[in-house]
């Protein structure tokens, strides 16, 4: 349908249509240094919320045959500081605190009394590489039950011998494949791989699979989230 107008009316119509687009310019806020950091933090927080909606407690991470597992020499040793923080393995105890019925110190023997689960799973690093390894240990859910953890608490917060630390949300902690891992390739963890106990959680990104644990706290309140998380990495990073 053709409508005759005046040139002035045509200009007004086209200018109005252009101005309708002005909200698009709000995206430019991301280029403004003072608000950029806040916007990106909010964006990441939204992303973490969305990712947590995808989590299904009944869905298992893929497991692999022994043939698909890489030889241990090809399993990278990664950390932010030293490979071996010199844990006194003979004297080691895990300090448990927080919203639990049985706080205190737990020995490796006590953890190893729980049923042992062995699984071949993919460890994925945030950098983009991954390796399939063989991990063995007690289910974190069994350990949480042993310490009398409140299942309605929000977080499991762990600290490590090299001052590393991270947080696991309770739903993931209760997942059947989340392990208090004390073995790799059916042998006790070596020092570089996190002796005596590390987290092995195939539903979380690599940097949440903390090594050389020293303490575990069940809590709703966090003053800090994680060594990498506090620097701006995703706090949820469930995969």
């Amino acid at each position: 349908m053709e409508v005759p107008v005046t040139e002035r009316q045509a200009k007004k119509i086209r200018r109005r249509e252009l101005l309708k687009l002005s909200p698009v310019l709000l995206l430019g806020a991301f280029a403004v240094p003072t608000v950029q950091e806040t916007l990106l933090k909010k964006g990441l927080a939204f992303h973490d919320w969305a990712a947590s909606q995808f989590f299904r407690k009944s869905h298992l991470a893929p497991t692999f045959s022994d043939a698909e597992v890489v030889p241990i020499e090809k399993f990278p040793i990664n950390d932010y500081d030293v490979d071996d923080p010199g844990v006194d393995l003979a004297a080691w105890k895990l300090k448990v605190s927080g919203d639990v019925a049985n706080p205190g110190e737990y020995t490796l023997d006590q953890i190893q009394e729980l049923p042992r689960q062995r699984q071949n799973t993919r460890h994925i690093c945030v950098e983009g590489w991954d390796v399939i390894g063989r991990f063995g240990g007690a289910r974190l859910s069994d350990f949480l039950q042993m310490i009398g953890a409140n299942p309605r608490a929000k977080f499991v917060f762990v600290e490590c011998a090299d001052d590393y630390y991270t947080t696991i949300d309770m739903a993931t902690a209760m997942h059947p494949q989340s392990l208090m891992c004390y073995e790799m390739y059916d042998r006790p963890l070596t020092r570089e791989h996190g002796a005596p106990v590390r987290l092995s959680i195939p539903t979380k990104i690599g940097y949440k699979n903390a090594k050389y644990l020293t303490s575990l706290r069940v809590t709703d309140v966090l003053t800090k989230q994680g060594y990498w998380e506090d620097q701006g990495y995703s706090t949820y990073y469930g995969i």
Binding site: M1, E2, V3, P4, V5, T6, E7, Q9, A10, I13, R14, R15, E17, L18, K20, L21, P23, V24, L27, F30, L39, L40, K41, K42, G43, L44, F46, H47, A50, A51, F54, F55, R56, H59, A61, P62, V70, E73, K74, F75, P76, R122, I124, C125, V126, E127, G128, W129, D130, V131, P202, T203, W228, Q231, G232, Y233, S234, G238, I239
Partner: protein, 234 residues
């Protein structure tokens, strides 16, 4: 020549020159808004994605690591892996939302049919390419979008969908393990994700060249919605 989809047309006379001008309403607000938001989001995703790539510029094992060609950091955004991930994880939602809104709108308004590449368009692609690149004769055009354009824009939509699906597998390989299997596994999902990015860059190059070649009035139509003196109005 009649456009396949009827458009609003306004016509006026320049009081200065007395020349008659007609303009057709090509692009509704939603299309324009999604276009600009989505294209900015895509550029941010590519630039931040490349910075993420630099953290492990390889598609093989970690030990031993064999690096692929590197790219200059100046092409990237985010500064470091943590920063790049913040940009990537923020803008992918803008990209998905604007993509879904655009395609949804095109379907419900019936406009998709003028952009969608169909089998009957196949034979029109070569004459169009020959005209653009090899000085061939200009083919008779009966629709607002010629077959080569339809091919380009339909491909862009498909690439958008595939970039999201491969991205989901990279982001959540456990929760989307089934999708991962369809793609040939986690490693292949990463390869596809990058190949799709390269395809997008090719589309982008072609698109920008064509936009420049088709002149100011055509470019302005993606801002105001109205295209002055369109080709299909004689």
């Amino acid at each position: 020549m009649n456009p396949a989809v009827p458009k609003q047309i306004m016509s006026w006379e320049s009081p200065r020159t007395g020349i008659g001008v007609r303009a057709a309403y090509e692009h509704p607000f939603i299309v324009r808004a999604c276009h600009w938001l989505n294209s900015v989001a895509l550029l941010v995703l590519i630039a931040s994605g490349l910075r993420i790539y630099l953290a492990f510029p390889s598609f093989g094992p970690k030990i031993p690591q064999h690096n692929f060609p590197t790219i200059p950091k100046q092409l990237t955004i985010g500064g470091w892996l943590g920063g790049a991930l913040q940009w990537h994880f923020t803008f992918l939602w803008i990209y998905i939302a604007t993509g879904v809104i655009y395609v949804g709108y095109q379907i419900f308004s019936g406009n998709l049919r003028q952009v969608l590449f169909m089998p009957r368009d196949i034979r029109g692609v070569w004459p169009m390419a020959r005209h653009y690149f090899l000085f061939g004769a200009k083919p008779e055009l009966s629709e607002p979008y010629n077959p080569l354009q339809k091919l380009a824009y339909t491909s862009a939509i498909l690439l958008g969908i595939l970039s999201v699906l491969t991205g989901l597998v990279l982001m959540s390989p456990v929760q989307f393990s089934f999708l991962g299997i369809l793609m040939g596994g986690f490693h292949m999902a990463r390869v596809w994700h990058f190949l799709i990015m390269i395809a997008f860059l090719l589309f982008l190059g072609g698109h920008l060249v064509m936009v420049i070649l088709h002149g100011w009035n055509n470019f302005v139509s993606m801002l105001t919605g109205w295209k002055k003196d369109p080709e299909y109005l004689s």
